[in-house]
């Protein structure tokens, strides 16, 4: 087979750090090639060099379809038929799908320069249809769409006008916020492209996806290519070992039943958005998972319980304290802590320090004698940074410069510091690398072990199975099923998620 992309001798040294050392990769025409590695392994540097953000150090050579490709030149990469869908999607929330797509590929205009909206709309609808997303209202701001639909818009934009001379599509963490069924839709689209002979470079933290979609996988560790193997020749555990360089100390999943007791979280007839009424109890020390495809109500349950968005009906009780509707402050004061799903817009204060981000939810403990004791506060922040192994240069570093996983740990520090009775989490490990993910899951288990009632809504079925004592499955706005014990497997949960959806088709 011919190679669509070959890169050799690629090094990149940032001041003080080596990001890539003599990296090479070869991608077969028409194949799907996965690139995996922990955060900091150099994979984002490679993608950025390919996209032209960084110039490589001298000596690197790259060819695309046997033509030399200058690296570090975004325009040349674009001209050579390489397209990117980056993790943050690069779409403007306030604009519609039509506008986002046209913004990327150019508006069609008549000879007076007036935009041909009908043509542009048709083009956007067609492109999304090709991806199997026929359910998107292309005229509303994309900010109001589901995460999966936003991803589809970004991919559609990358694909438009690209059929001729299409060579390589780079998908950087495209499924970061997609639930199972939507991932399948994305994969269907990828397979279609593959049949057309388009090669795909697929960057992901989700190893299951790698096995499902990729033909080959290249593993990066500490800026070097460890190896490239066929996905048939390696298994899940083997791949993790290659990524982290040693065996993962996989903790035996503790499947003890939760200690029964007073308190915990009590939810009755909670209604709002896609959620049509949920009853749920989580006891102290218990971890309850919530599974469901997007639109099943799963995505609404954590925001409604915590008061991030107003509910239409229903009650939430922490211990004996009823929580008023749409009142996160009251929830926190009653003993609830939570980490919102979108850490960038709902979680961190990006330009404030790690310290102020951690202590935000309770400053009273450092408020003594009429002023804030900054020294104490720094000491407490440093202690939490240590405990949660947040990788940050100092307590005073702005949170925005940390990696996603470390930002998430900062938010966990903010919540766990409150020693909550109830902890509500929404996709707690989105966009977090393997090592940090395991650490976060352990934090969740520790919180439960010390008596917190923990609710975890997640699109990552494996994650739920790994930590939850029982899992409720949402279908069409209601809790449709509950699994626990030996029945609690990813297969059972995914099947249960799709039950009525399938029956309806």
């Amino acid at each position: 087979m011919s190679k669509i992309l070959t890169v050799g001798s690629l090094s990149k040294i940032f001041p003080g750090q080596v990001a890539l050392t003599d990296f090479d990769i070869e991608i077969e025409a028409g194949s799907t090639h996965a690139l995996v590695g922990q955060n900091g392994s150099g994979k984002s540097t490679f993608i950025k060099i390919l996209a032209g953000y960084h110039a490589p150090d001298p000596g690197a050579a790259a060819h695309i379809a046997d033509q030399p490709l200058p690296l570090g030149d975004g325009r040349a990469a674009h001209g050579a038929g390489v397209r990117f869908v980056h993790q943050d999607l690069g779409i403007v929330d306030a604009l519609s799908a039509v506008e986002n797509i046209s913004m990327g590929v150019g508006y069609t205009t008549n000879r007076w320069g007036r935009i041909r909206w009908t043509d542009d709309t048709a083009r956007a609808v067609d492109a999304l249809d090709d991806l199997g997303f026929t359910d998107i209202d292309v005229t509303v701001p994309v900010g109001s769409l589901a995460p999966s639909q936003r991803t589809a818009v970004a991919i559609a934009r990358a694909l438009i006008g690209w059929e001729d001379g299409a060579n390589l599509l780079v998908l950087d963490e495209p499924t970061a916020s997609l639930p199972g069924a939507d991932v399948e839709r994305l994969f269907a689209a990828i397979r279609r492209l593959k049949q057309r002979g388009v090669a795909i470079l697929y960057v992901s933290h989700h190893l299951d996806e790698v096995f499902e979609i990729a033909d080959e996988v290249t593993i990066l560790r500490d800026g070097r290519r460890v190896t490239t193997v066929s996905t048939d020749a390696v298994d899940h555990e083997g791949l993790i070992e290659l990524m982290i360089g040693h065996k993962l100390e996989k903790r035996e999943a503790t499947k003890r039943t939760a200690a029964a007791g007073e308190g915990g979280l009590r939810v009755r007839q909670l209604t709002g958005g896609t959620l049509l009424g949920a009853d749920l109890d989580v006891g102290p020390g218990e971890i309850v998972g919530v599974a469901g495809i997007t639109g099943s109500g799963r995505e609404m349950i954590a925001p409604l319980i915590t008061g991030q968005i107003p509910s239409d009906d229903g009650t939430v009780t922490v211990g004996q304290t009823p929580i008023p509707n749409y009142a996160p402050r009251a929830a926190i004061q009653a003993g609830m802590a939570f980490v919102p799903i979108d850490r960038a817009t709902l979680g961190v204060l990006p330009l404030e320090s790690v310290r102020t981000n951690i202590t935000l939810a309770d400053l009273r403990r450092h408020w003594r004698g009429g002023r804030l004791r900054h020294g104490d506060e720094r000491a407490e922040a440093a202690e939490l940074i240590e405990t949660l192994s947040v990788k940050t240069p100092s307590t005073e570093t702005a949170v925005a410069v940390l990696s996603g996983g470390n930002q998430q740990k900062v938010l966990f520090a903010r919540s766990l510091r409150l020693t909550p009775q109830v902890l509500v989490l929404d996709d707690p490990t989105t966009g977090v690398d393997v090592g940090a993910k395991e650490e976060i899951l352990q934090l969740i288990e520790q919180a439960a072990a010390t008596g917190a009632a923990v609710l975890v809504a997640s699109t990552d079925t494996d994650e739920i199975v790994r930590i939850a004592h029982r899992v409720v499955v949402m279908v069409d706005g209601r809790i449709n099923d509950e699994v626990s014990g030996a029945d609690m497997t990813a297969e059972n949960i995914e099947r249960a998620q799709l039950q009525t959806t399938k029956a309806g088709v």
């Binding site: 001041p15 750090q17 540097t45 817009t345 804030l372 005073e396 410069v401």
Partner: protein
């Protein structure tokens, strides 16, 4: 998207702190500039270093701009603009003068009425911004015109002079201390209102930097929704910051009444620009975000610069002053934001590629 979209080209710079930032030219550019003015104009202009010639004049006159700047700064921390502060200052000033002119009430009661009037305006600003969710920029811009109308209804044009009693004026104007500088004829003195202003500045500084309220205000400005979800009362803080802003603006009017003892229809609104400029210039100083002492440094740096230029080019100062103020603001903020960007870039690269978990 809160994560700043930054390209990493500049990561190729050396990671060592540049000479520029090691001697503090970034965070203390205002102080350096101030020192430069003192050295240059001190040598070239005879009057510049005279206490009675320039220094006292600038120190006392600019207290008013400092107050207005603080009035702008307080809501700014919650990312709320108050553009009505100049008019509120004028409102306070016209009320205190009008009551003195046309009633037998004590002047100090007039001052209390003036402050109350400003608090009402601040509460209305808060109601419109928080209650009706009107963009603060628009809401307070509109409110400034409403206040302008009220001022004209109270006193239609023209000055009010000599209405205020001596007791009232002396409350602010008498000297705290006064002594002769040995070996020269200079009489060193500072009036009470200068220290009233200083007290306001210390209070604002303390609340912003050393109390949970201040921390919550900055959190609200940093990411309103994230702050709300962490239990911060973002609406109440926004409202409160607008009321505090009005109180400080009203107090600026009182200081004017103590210093000059008059009302003029052109007083107040023209000071909005220097006040806003000082807050943004000041945000490039010291801590790298809006802060009290940076703002005050900015006010005095600009003021002494203009004073020096005025002494050197007495006939040109009329057009040079706005030019100087405008350019200084743009350059200072331009340098600061450039360095902020580089800093974030460098740190981001540091963290991405070399993760030594160090807590200080």
């Amino acid at each position: 998207m809160a994560a700043p979209a930054i390209d990493l080209d500049a990561a190729d710079d050396t990671p060592q702190p540049s000479v520029w930032s090691r001697i503090g030219l970034d965070r203390f550019s205002g102080l350096y500039l101030l020192a430069l003015f003192f050295v240059f104009f001190g040598f070239t202009e005879d009057n510049f270093l005279q206490w009675n010639g320039s220094i006292e004049f600038v120190l006392t006159e600019k207290v008013i701009v400092c107050m207005l700047a603080l009035a702008f700064l307080v809501p700014m921390t919650t990312e709320t603009f108050d553009l009505s502060i100049g008019h509120q200052m004028a409102l306070s000033l016209v009320i205190v003068n009008k009551i003195a002119l046309e009633t037998d009430l004590p002047d100090m009661l007039g001052a209390v009425v003036a402050m109350l009037a400003c608090l009402v305006v601040g509460a209305l600003n808060g109601l419109i911004v928080v209650g009706f969710r009107v963009n603060s920029f628009i809401a307070t811009l509109g409110m400034s015109q409403v206040v302008a109308a009220v001022i004209r209804r109270i006193h239609d044009r023209g000055q009010i002079t000599a209405a205020l009693g001596d007791d009232y004026v002396n409350f602010g104007k008498r000297d705290v201390f006064s002594f002769s500088w040995p070996g020269s004829g200079s009489e060193i003195s500072l009036p009470y209102y200068f220290f009233y202003g200083l007290i306001v500045a210390v209070i604002v500084w303390f609340v912003l930097e050393h109390t949970p309220v201040g921390r919550h205000m900055f959190a609200t400005g940093g990411n309103r929704e994230a702050a709300r979800l962490s239990g911060v009362k973002t609406d109440r803080l926004t409202w409160g910051s607008l009321v505090a802003s009005s109180a400080i603006a009203g107090f600026a009017g009182l200081i004017y009444s103590w210093k000059f003892g008059t009302y003029g229809s052109t007083v107040g609104p023209p000071l909005l620009f220097p006040a806003v400029a000082a807050v943004f210039f000041g945000a490039s100083q010291l801590r790298g975000r809006p802060n009290v002492w940076g703002t005050i440094i900015a006010v005095y740096t600009l003021a002494f610069g203009i004073k020096g230029i005025g002494l050197r080019y007495p006939r040109e100062i009329d057009w040079m002053q706005p030019l100087f103020e405008g350019l200084t603001l743009i350059i200072a903020v331009g340098i600061a934001s450039r360095q902020g960007i580089i800093k974030v870039r460098k740190r981001r690269v540091d963290v991405e590629h070399e993760p030594p978990p160090r807590s200080r």
